[in-house]
């Protein structure tokens, strides 16, 4: 909430965020209990669902214990899912790479807990190159992690925002909103948005430019 209302731009100049450009993207979540990152990623899967190809979802045990398994009735309907549960981060990376060899997959999603030594610049670079060579999007969700050196082409930090009100029931939460912070990206300027799920993908609105220093933003509002 800190500076979202500072310099808002209309949402229409941004296309909906989808997995159209196949590359490696990293998504960080500050809290394991927060479902925002899962919602943000799943909202982009419209193209995968439409293609009818399955999604390879790789989890390590710690993530599964802390954040739970994906629950298909809540995921986008029509999404085919192959769930892989492994013990070590190395196996997550190996499984993702193995999945990126296979043209029959729509996307590959990995979840890694913490900062394992195996997940270094080389590993992410391998994933990124492999994803771009085979044109399969690779998504990496990281929890309890620090954004160290990485070759991911987009690095997001996702958190929950209070949902829109439900029109029929004022006490209930309606369509979700997320705070999406693109803090490093190749080929597009970084920024912060308020994101919401749309029909074609994630709609980004209320763009906040990163080059506005926080102190100037607070000065502008107050």
């Amino acid at each position: 909430m800190r500076s979202l209302l500072a310099t808002a731009s209309p949402a229409s100049d941004l296309p909906p965020l989808t997995l159209a450009e196949p590359t490696l993207a990293e998504f960080f979540s500050d809290s394991a209990a927060d479902g925002a990152v899962t919602g943000f990623v799943c909202a982009q899967l419209a193209a995968v669902v439409a293609s009818g190809k399955p999604l390879l979802w790789v989890q390590d045990r710690m993530t599964q214990r802390e954040a739970g398994k994906p629950y298909p009735p809540g995921l986008p309907s029509g999404l085919r899912l192959i769930l892989v549960t492994v013990n070590r981060a190395v196996d997550v990376l190996w499984s993702m790479e193995e999945g990126l060899h296979c043209d029959a997959l729509g996307a590959v999603l990995g979840e890694v807990w913490g900062d394992p030594p195996a997940l270094d610049f080389t590993a992410t670079k391998r994933l990124a190159l492999r994803a771009e060579a085979r044109a399969i999007p690779a998504l990496l969700i990281r929890r309890a992690a620090h954004p160290d050196l990485s070759a991911a082409r987009q690095r997001w930090r996702i958190a929950s925002l209070p949902a829109l009100p439900e029109p029929d029931d004022m006490r209930a939460p309606g369509a979700p909103l997320w705070q999406a912070d693109l803090f490093r990206a190749r080929g597009r300027p970084p920024g912060q948005w308020v994101a919401s799920p749309g029909d074609a993908g994630v709609t980004l609105s209320h763009h906040v430019h990163m080059n506005t220093a926080p102190d100037s933003a607070t000065r502008a509002t107050g």
């Binding site: 209990a33 925002a36 629950y71 298909p72 769930l83 193995e98 296979c102 939460p173």
Partner: protein
């Protein structure tokens, strides 16, 4: 009332006469005769059943008929699932023998059964074990293995020095110690011996695909068609005796057309006897009556009757023997045993695992430690064999036969039948490191333990490959490395209880798709494996609490939707299970969760209801 009974009768007769009646709301709407083919089909089915019954009757006759008649010679062929092409030469002959069908004199005695007798197995095994620990006793020290008898320990095995000292099996240890004060007594391990014999039996598969244990000190093998791989029958027997001798086991081997004859010759015949169907009678005639696998009482009885050798018993008129021994069981019945020996009664080698239909092997000149370099060639050879027969492998086993008489194997499975050599080889990428080579091995076998029909077909018109194959191969590789339980797909299940509404099936098993999921309202993106209890503050009987603590973090509930009440399934749940009221809640910083109250206040089912966290919304 009358109407109803009339209708019932009508339906009944309609069914009986082969007509179909469609009855609706008490009125016969349509009654049309079923065309003749249905009646024909029923007739044909009845005839087929009759023929089958007659066939089994005829089939059973020889074994159950009066033993007065001389039954025809029967092949003692192993129980094989099918008689088609096999890549091992042994199984080639097998297939031919089976497909030729009825038993005639020519093929009845065409099997080649090797019986392997290990007279000092327990002692040899103990000596091997002691030698490996550098604790082997000197050769001149008498050693016996002892088991517990009713009156104290009893000698069950002796070494050479003990035999020379006059110690014999079955005697009490105290007596033998009096005879030979320097005696060393070791406790015998019959269970260990049994397990070791089973391992040795598996290891003996290096010579032929069908092996089975035969009593406590023997192994029986069906080597039909395998002998030429080892340079002939005599060479095979020498090879068997030699390699077991290197391992430290005294072995006596014999080869004969029947199990009974091979058993008798291995124990009572000359060294490395080879009996053919022509020489069978002459070779077995001088063997003692004990060679018929009879118990001691029957042997004694036969001796008192003056029948001391197999030849004597064979010379007695069949009628007399049958009259005397007709009702006795097999181990008391010399006639039945004689029939087994002469091949008149079938006695197949029943191996514990059926022989694989597709198997290739490579023999190495000297023991090696790493099977990896040989795998590509093996895979190519196996895939060629599979392609020739129009099959694909679903399960693969690499077996190595170690020099220390052990067998190690690794298995990989595929999600759908495959005969792509590169794919099959990659399934073993990390697994061969886990195989324990011991001191090395000199024989590797790759077999398709499960194979499926797989025709070559074009799946798409545009010439590109089918996506299904690529996906299945990826699932295979993941399952091979991570274990099949780690790679799963969701299968919907008809239940409203969230954790029961889907099952995670192994992707490898390609489980059929379940029923369509039940229509539900909004569901969370993630579900915790087990619901976690939350401590609530300001719980009110209706609606969610104002605040709760989950994983030691307090959450204040800002907004909520619900409740959605899910009742327990009385046909599944144990009594006392309470209903659940689910709420979708949003806390003060915008995180959305799915929590439920287990029961309601005042439902008389024990303590006040608890609250649980079950899922997370996006």
């Amino acid at each position: 009332m009358k109407d109803e009974s009339a209708q019932r009768i009508l339906t009944f007769t309609a069914q009986r006469t082969g007509a179909a009646a469609c009855v609706h709301m008490g009125n016969v709407i349509e009654l049309r005769p079923v065309p003749l083919p249905a009646a024909h089909a029923r007739l044909a089915r009845a005839r087929a059943t009759l023929v089958k019954a007659e066939a089994t009757l005829v089939h059973r006759e020889p074994s159950q008929a009066s033993p007065l008649l001389t039954p025809p010679l029967r092949a003692s062929r192993p129980v094989a699932p099918s008689g088609t092409v096999m890549t091992r030469p042994a199984t080639d002959a097998q297939g031919n023998a089976i497909s030729t069908g009825p038993t005639t004199d020519r093929i009845a005695l065409s099997r080649r059964i090797v019986s392997l007798h290990l007279p000092d197995f327990a002692m040899n095994r103990w000596l091997r074990w002691a030698t490996a620990r550098h604790e082997a006793p000197p050769d001149e020290l008498p050693v016996v293995l002892a088991t517990e008898g009713p009156h104290g320990p009893v000698v069950s095995a002796t070494n050479r020095a003990a035999i020379l000292a006059g110690l014999n099996r079955g005697a009490r240890v105290v007596d033998m110690r009096a005879l030979c004060p320097t005696l060393r007594v070791v406790r015998a391990d019959p269970d260990g011996d049994h397990a070791a014999l089973k391992k040795l039996m598996l290891w003996a598969r290096r010579w032929c695909p069908w092996t089975a244990t035969d009593g406590a000190d023997g192994i029986v093998m069906d080597t039909t068609g395998s002998d030429h791989l080892w340079g002939g029958e005599a060479a095979l027997l020498r090879e068997i005796e030699g390699s077991l001798g290197v391992l430290g086991f005294n072995a006596r081997v014999a080869m004969a057309p029947t199990h009974g004859a091979a058993w008798a010759l291995a124990r009572f015949g000359p060294l490395r006897t080879i009996a053919t169907s022509d020489t069978l009678a002459t070779v077995t005639a001088p063997l003692p009556a004990r060679a018929l696998r009879l118990d001691a009482d029957t042997v004694l009885l036969l001796q008192r009757l003056g029948l001391k050798s197999v030849g004597d018993i064979a010379a007695v008129p069949r009628l007399s023997l049958a009259r005397r021994f007709a009702k006795t069981q097999l181990s008391h019945n010399p006639l039945a045993r004689l029939d087994q020996l002469q091949g008149r009664t079938a006695e197949p080698v029943s191996a514990t695992q059926e022989a694989p239909r597709f198997a290739v092997q490579v023999k190495l000149a000297e023991p090696v430690q790493d099977p990896t370099p040989y795998l590509p060639d093996l895979c190519t050879a196996l895939c060629t064999a599979l392609a020739d027969a129009g099959f694909g492998a679903r399960k693969l086993t690499v077996t190595i036969y170690r020099t220390d008489a052990e067998v190690s194997q690794v298995t990989a499975a595929t999600a759908r039948a495959s005969r792509d050599p590169n794919h099959l080889r990659r399934l073993f990428d990390d697994k061969l490191e886990r195989i324990d080579p011991g001191y090395g091995f000199e024989l590797i076998t790759l077999e398709a333990s499960a194979a499926e029909d797989m025709r070559a077909m074009q799946s798409r018109l545009d010439g590109r490959a089918d996506d299904g194959a690529a996906l299945a191969q990826m699932v295979d590789r993941l399952s091979a490395r991570l274990g099949p339980q780690s790679v799963r797909t969701p299968t919907p299940h008809a239940s409203h209880i969230p954790e029961r509404s889907l099952a995670w099936a192994m992707a490898l098993s390609q489980a059929p798709r379940g029923p369509d999921p039940l229509p539900v309202t909004e569901r969370p993106l993630r579900l915790l494996d087990t619901p976690e209890e939350i401590r609530v503050l300001y719980a009110v009987p209706e609606g969610p609490p104002a605040q709760f603590v989950w994983r030691r973090v307090p959450h204040r509930i800002a907004r909520f939707a619900g409740p959605e009440r899910i009742a327990p399934e009385w046909w599944n749940d144990r009594p006392g299970t309470r209903l659940r009221d689910y709420y979708k809640i949003e806390d003060d910083i915008g995180r959305r969760f799915w929590i439920y109250r287990d029961g309601i206040y005042g439902d008389d089912r024990g303590a006040p209801p608890l609250w649980f966290m079950h899922g997370v919304f996006g």
